[in-house]
């Protein structure tokens, strides 16, 4: 870890603007860092040449005192974002050597603002997973380890390459996506900040679709301020995404005033689950105390339909996935496996191209959407979703934000849960409600477990309430003083 790669995005920005460092220098330091952490398998496609050429362009702009809000800052891109002429796979075999002829809106915004692309980051296949173990390119290793135990741990998922690369100082920030917790859970497992914006805040155009009514892009960073800077660039209204909402993008960083006096924070009692580790309950209480000390008012609230969110999610998400993934047919792009007729060609290509978890979810989704079951499963789940949303609507008449743990456990070992889909799904129990209701949520590193692993707390905001969310997260981050480094970095 070099001095340059340990900088926060905002500090690096200040040094670039002051001409203390150059973008090329900063990019080279990150390229070196990427080489040192190859064993983590976080990057599945480094783009070093592109990075250096983008950095050189940034240096020209910076020299003239010009440049956008991310000018010269090296970032990693989850391989779910289509990048023009740069291989995009969603970590699936089925996309083969797919070269997009277009750029996702989110990444286009970032390049227009001057960001430098270091490479494409590993993730669970089509973002389906909580451990990054479903990737066709193999699992990602968490740079964190348990005290005195070298066992490899998962970095969370699906944005596991993003979380591992940010934690291991192999990029200043990374893009990620969150359908049921895929930004916040990996952030919690790696001691990083993960922000899932309101549904409709960032354009989904050019992002490989998983479950379209839930998918939302956001950043993983090492500070709340960095998340605010990244979101300001990533967010936009986009006519190419009909679910993009036409609301202006605020200067999120300006919201970080440090003043949360009078803010009302709800504590939902349903998130206190049986069997939850004592240290997570204690951390949650610690979070409550931090916010109280900063002048916020704590209010006990109830979200009675919380426990229904996960089962409803496992109908809605696979149903939408089965529909979205119908496009992978071996005809228009990706791999093709021949058959005696076109139906056999479809079935062979899809059997060969999709991994086990993706096949499982497509089959569940196809089943719940099939004739005779549509009302019993899909429509029922969408009605339950209304109940979940109404729960939030009701508490948001009384409070501004909600505070919960991000995950029910710390990072687990590679291979521990992969053969038990249901116990893997439980990782998302505290995060999935937020997607079901379309709300913004952020996970910040708040403490260290007895095993020496990071633990996260989650703040949940109101629709398009990212400014308040970031403001409170910033205050909590200051109180938490989380400075621990992954064992891999401390060596």
């Amino acid at each position: 870890m070099s001095e340059l790669t340990n900088l926060s995005l905002s500090d690096a920005r200040a040094k670039l603007r002051n001409k203390d460092i150059s973008a090329v220098e900063l990019t080279k330091a990150h390229i070196d860092a990427m080489g040192q952490i190859e064993g983590l398998n976080a990057y599945i496609l480094p783009t070093h040449e592109k990075a250096l050429s983008m950095a050189a362009d940034s240096d020209e702009k910076l020299a003239k005192g010009e440049g956008g809000i991310l000018e010269g800052l090296p970032v990693g891109i989850k391989d779910l974002f289509c990048t023009k002429d740069v291989r995009t796979t969603a970590s699936s075999k089925i996309l083969g050597e797919f070269l997009p002829t277009y750029e996702s809106t989110v990444t286009a915004n970032m390049w227009a603002d001057g960001a430098v692309m270091l490479g494409k980051l590993n993730c669970d296949e089509f973002a389906m997973g909580s451990s990054n173990e479903t990737s066709f390119f193999g699992n990602v290793v968490n740079p964190w380890q348990r005290n005195g135990d070298e066992a490899a741990l998962v970095p969370g998922g699906s944005s596991g390459g993003s979380s591992a690369a940010v934690a291991a100082r192999a990029c200043l920030a990374a893009t990620a996506t969150d359908t049921g917790g895929s930004i916040r859970q990996p952030a919690a497992f790696t001691g990083t900040v993960g922000l899932k914006p309101t549904y409709g805040r960032c354009s989904r155009w050019g992002v490989v679709a998983f479950a379209s009514s839930l998918d939302q892009a956001g950043p993983i960073t090492r500070s709340v301020r960095d998340a605010a800077i990244m979101l300001e660039s990533m967010a936009s209204y986009d006519v190419k995404d009909s679910t993009s909402v036409n609301v202006g993008v605020p200067a999120y960083e300006k919201a970080l005033t440090g003043d949360i006096r009078g803010l009302k924070i709800g504590i939902p009692k349903e998130y206190k689950m049986d069997g939850m580790p004592e240290e997570i309950i204690k951390l949650w209480q610690q979070g409550i105390d931090w916010l109280k000390q900063a002048g916020a008012e704590i209010v006990d609230v109830s979200l009675p339909n919380t426990k229904l969110a996960l089962p409803a999610y496992y109908i809605v998400a696979p149903a939408e996935a089965s529909s979205n993934l119908a496009r992978y047919d071996g005809v228009r792009y990706g791999i093709r496996v021949a058959g005696d007729n076109i139906d056999e060609q479809y079935a062979n290509s899809r059997a060969e191209g999709f991994g086990a978890e993706v096949q499982r979810r497509i089959l569940i989704g196809t089943y719940v959407l099939s004739a005779g079951y549509y009302d019993a499963y899909y429509v029922k789940a969408q009605k339950v979703r209304t109940l979940i949303k109404r729960d939030f609507d009701a508490v948001y008449r009384k409070v501004d934000l909600l505070l919960t743990p991000t995950t029910p456990s710390e990072a687990f070992g590679i291979g521990e849960n992969i053969n038990d889909p249901l116990s893997m799904y439980l990782n998302d129990i505290f995060t999935v409600t937020v997607n079901m209701a379309g709300l913004p949520g952020i996970s910040i590193p708040a403490g260290i477990s007895a095993n020496g692993l990071p633990l996260g707390l989650q703040l949940i905001g109101q629709p398009f309430g990212e400014e308040t969310l970031l403001k409170a997260a910033d205050v909590m981050e200051s109180a938490a003083e989380f400075t621990a480094l992954p064992q891999l970095m401390a060596k």
Binding site: T101, Y314, Q359, K380
Partner: protein
């Protein structure tokens, strides 16, 4: 609503995914485990509750009914495993 191996095969055919006998046996167990988990929703009273159709309150945007994109077939077929003169090639579907 438990599903049997015949249903697994039927669904796999609908989803156009080839499955082996061994996979069918495993999938029967895995899919039933997931269906059992989601079954708890059937006990929830949702009478008179409308299904959620959009997570965020918004009106469907409208645009002028004009062609505003296209005209680049070479880009559309660029990633195709087999194409000819701007067309996708597939096995013969009409006898």
């Amino acid at each position: 609503m438990a599903i049997d191996q015949a249903t697994v095969r039927k669904v796999a055919n609908l989803a156009r995914i080839r499955v082996t006998d061994e996979q069918v046996a495993n999938l029967e167990g895995e899919l039933n485990q997931i269906l059992q988990f989601v079954e708890q929703l059937s006990e929830v009273d949702t009478d008179g509750v409308p299904p959620l159709t959009s997570a965020v309150e918004m009106t469907q945007p409208l645009r002028a009914d004009i062609v505003n994109d296209g005209g680049y077939p070479e880009q559309i077929v660029k990633n195709a495993p087999a194409s000819d003169d701007g067309f996708f090639l597939v096995p013969k579907v009409i006898e």
